[in-house]
């Protein structure tokens, strides 16, 4: 500390229409320091990054870079001023069909004063200079499309560093890297830190954060909810500030389950991860919580047959269960409401009724001809049961709000009885009332099946589940009955704290 901040943001605000996304953000970045920014989905991290990198205009507030006002109108201006951002999607940062050397010098091709023709020899010499400065050992003649994700990431960062920035923003750079690849990235970051670059590092991965952070800033609902710079850093405090705790929680009365429906023994879902064993009982709602990237979706997909486990066995009702596809899982009574409904749930060309019947066309047809009446009846029943707000079952999904779209997705899989009902982030992009409706419906209909929900927000788990399992590093690290929960222990497990290493 002590040194003046090289980059300073004060009272930054931003609204989209009625919706305030940033409610007065103040942030400082110091030379030669890695500041980690943590925040759940929708906390406003990407909006903040986009304002700093010149993509969005800010609503209110000031930004200063090295003592001067910093007010980029375009991303190019931000880069010229010395604030460079490497975005989450690696392929946005490189041109796949060109070689490494051209990628490293790409910005000079289009900048002011660039010559009309380019000499390959000059390009290579310049690229070599950039690569050497970064300690990059990639063949400069290789095509970027032939490189691994990690190497592409290195090229994207090296390309960013060719501008000799004062501030470097890395948005979830390790989200698609293996741990060995991430190690290479970390040593690169160490080198940059040594060069005196101020780095803003956005991540959910606790292992990254422990490895890199000099300071941690937590964001929640568009404001800074905690800043930590006392060594040793208070990681649990940071997670707690990011996830927050509400005073008003709709607590549930936790139920016990008598009989097991689903069991998993020694299930391994990622290289080098510890095995998972669990039992899910009839009538209970179990929530699995953990930060983004700890393998929640991988586990959900493994149970649903879309992904193969590396090891281990599963049983449904005592019988071996090893689904090879979604089709086999559905036949065994295992249903999944997948994460990200726009991507993997909603059929855009279909109305509500057809979206609901989609997985059950065989049951809704005779001699393969659709029974439209049965379809309509099922859709109307589901619309009533879940309180979907619409004009009729013929409405297009694009006419519905996010919460109602999600209700249709849940309705789809509740229109037939299941044995194991899995929901992956069912409350994402869903308003509070729709969220309560869905949670209440899940609990009310839980008899006769096991229900498993995957959520990042602990509040959502507390509001919905009888039992909460905590995931970290692709395995389950804790289990809690949702009654008199020891929240400190739960948060420590989410943060992958000492309890995990002891386990």
């Amino acid at each position: 500390m002590g040194a003046d901040a090289v980059f300073r943001v004060d009272g930054l605000r931003k609204s989209f229409g009625q919706n305030e996304v940033l409610g007065g953000i103040s942030l400082e970045l110091h030379s030669g320091e890695v500041t980690v920014l943590m925040g759940a989905n929708g906390a406003g991290k990407s909006t903040l990054v986009k304002i700093i990198s010149g993509v969005y205009a800010r609503g209110a507030g000031t930004m200063r870079l090295a003592g001067n006002a910093f007010d980029p109108q375009t991303p190019a201006e931000a880069i010229r001023a010395g604030v460079v951002t490497v975005h989450q999607n690696i392929n946005d940062g490189v041109v796949a069909d060109l070689d490494v050397a051209t990628n490293l010098t790409l910005d000079r091709l289009s900048g002011k004063g660039a010559s009309l023709l380019f000499k390959p020899a000059n390009v290579r010499a310049e690229a070599k200079a950039v690569a050497d400065r970064m300690g990059l050992t990639i063949d400069l003649k290789a095509r970027v499309s032939d490189l691994s994700l990690a190497d592409r990431q290195m090229v994207a960062i090296a390309r960013a560093m060719a501008h000799e920035p004062k501030v470097l923003i890395l948005d979830e750079p390790t989200s698609s890297l293996s741990s060995a690849e991430a190690d290479r990235l970390f040593s690169l970051i160490d080198r940059l830190r040594g060069h005196g670059v101020a780095i803003l590092y956005i991540s959910h991965r606790m292992s990254d954060i422990r490895r890199l952070a000099d300071r941690i800033v937590s964001m929640r609902d568009g404001v800074i909810s905690g800043a930590f710079d006392q060594k040793p850093l208070d990681y649990e405090g940071a997670v707690n500030a990011m996830l927050g705790r509400k005073i008003h929680l709709d607590r549930v009365v936790a139920r016990h389950s008598a009989s097991a429906i689903f069991t998993a023994e020694g299930l391994r879902i990622a290289q080098g991860s510890k095995p998972i064993s669990m039992t899910l009982g009839a009538g209970e709602v179990v929530a699995i919580t953990g930060l983004v990237g700890v393998g929640k979706t991988a586990l959900a997909e493994t149970l649903f047959g879309v992904r193969k486990p590396l090891a281990g066995t599963m049983h449904m009702d005592g019988k071996p269960y090893a689904p090879g596809s979604a089709r086999e899982a559905i036949a065994a009574g295992v249903f999944l409401v997948a994460k990200d409904r726009a991507e993997s749930g909603i059929v855009g060309g279909f109305n509500i009724e057809r979206n609901i019947s989609l997985p059950f066309l065989k049951r809704m047809s005779s001699f393969s001809v659709m029974k439209t009446r049965a379809e309509r009846v099922a859709a109307r029943r589901q619309i009533d049961e879940l309180g979907i707000v619409c004009r009729s079952e013929k409405d297009e999904l694009s006419a519905l709000s996010g919460g109602n779209q999600q209700k249709v997705m849940v309705a789809r899989w509740m229109s037939q009885a299941s044995r194991l009902f899995i929901l992956d982030e069912p409350f994402q992009g869903v308003d509070i009332s729709a969220r309560r409706d869905i949670a209440a419906k899940l609990r009310a209909s839980a008899d006769g099946r096991a229900t498993l929900i995957f959520v990042t927000e602990i509040d959502e788990a507390l509001e919905t589940a009888d039992r909460i399992l905590v995931m970290s590093e692709h395995t389950i690290v804790g289990e809690h009955r949702n009654a008199d929960i020891d929240l400190d222990r739960l948060l420590a497990e989410v943060a992958g704290g000492p309890l995990h290493s002891a386990a």
Partner: protein
């Protein structure tokens, strides 16, 4: 609301208006014979267009339909003229070609991950060349000289030619050609299949959101391959009708089949504001083009303006689909 009606019924109104105009302006346009002629003129392209509609439904495309049709035509001619086989063998040979080409297209696209346009473009080229190899580039007709100097003495069987030339009595004697009956039957079949069976429903789901369909338990790869098989088989049926109409394996025929068929299917997007591939729209699209060309011909428009007119209709239809309905999504 006005806009909704324009999108929904605009194209049908245009078609009715066109017919009314020609009825007044062109003598003899309104007669059973003229109507039959229109249907006959679009029968082959219509059959191909219905097939390509199946691939459009799953979010693909099939550029090889034209060359599948001409390959089938050459194969039927070769079977009857050179190998001296009967009509049934010739028909089966054509259908087998359609199935095999469809399977290869599907395999290339689904398992080899070749983009649909490129895979079927490659297949189009391959078939255009392949159909010339057995006769070293010659057209096939009875009495032709083979590459080895012998003379081919087989001839088209009467039963086969009937597919292209026989007319069925319908109130008026000798009114409706078999090819029109084939078109209508296939149109009803594919329309029913796509709209009312669970397979058709799932094909639309695959075309709209492949991952959602897969997570709903659909064997997405199989559906895609089946779509190309349907397209291949329909194209080969088109080829059978072409061979039966011409009565020879004409190496130079069938040039316009692909473009006309694709145009009909794309015009179909605009019919009833569907904004998506659909069998009814495809059939209306084919008839629309037929009406327009027949009317213009009867008003003595020169033949070389035909492609221009078809192109203009297609562009207008695409504007209807993508700009007006605002659901631009192939």
């Amino acid at each position: 609301m006005m806009r909704d009606y324009a999108i929904r019924y605009g194209f049908i109104v245009l078609l009715v208006g066109l017919i009314a105009y020609f009825a007044v302006a062109a003598d003899g346009f309104v007669s059973p014979q003229s109507a039959v002629f229109i249907f006959q003129s679009v029968a082959i392209t219509g059959v191909l267009a219905l097939g390509v509609t199946a691939t459009l439904v799953v979010g693909g495309f099939d550029l090889s339909i034209g060359s599948v049709a001409t390959s089938a035509m050459m194969a039927a001619s070769y079977a009857m003229v050179v190998l001296e086989q009967n009509a049934i063998v010739a028909v089966i040979a054509c259908l087998v070609i359609g199935v095999i080409v469809g399977l290869i297209n599907g395999w290339l696209i689904v398992y080899m991950r070749v983009p649909d346009l490129l895979a079927t473009l490659g297949m189009m080229f391959l078939l255009l060349g392949l159909q010339r190899i057995p006769t070293e580039g010659r057209s096939i007709a009875t009495g032709m000289t083979m590459p080895d100097g012998s003379v081919a003495n087989g001839k088209f069987s009467e039963a086969f030619l009937a597919l292209g030339r026989h007319r069925i009595d319908f109130f008026i004697p000798n009114l409706i050609p078999v090819s029109v009956v084939v078109l209508v039957v296939l149109a009803v079949l594919i329309w029913f299949f796509l709209e009312y069976t669970r397979f058709g429903r799932m094909m639309y789901a695959v075309g709209s959101n492949e991952r959602a369909a897969e997570l709903a338990g659909a064997p997405v790869k199989a559906y895609k391959i089946w779509a190309y098989v349907i397209s291949g088989v329909f194209a080969s049926i088109g080829g059978i009708l072409l061979a039966a109409r011409l009565g020879r394996g004409d190496i130079a025929s069938g040039n316009n089949l692909l473009l006309d068929a694709v145009a009909a299917a794309l015009i179909g997007y605009a019919v009833l504001g569907a904004a998506k591939p659909n069998a009814f729209g495809t059939a209306v699209g084919a008839v629309f083009v037929g009406v327009l060309l027949q009317g213009l011909t009867m008003m003595n428009a020169p033949y070389y303006t035909q492609d221009f007119v078809k192109g203009a209709v297609l562009v207008v239809a695409l504007v209807f689909t993508f700009a007006l309905s605002g659901r631009g999504k192939r």
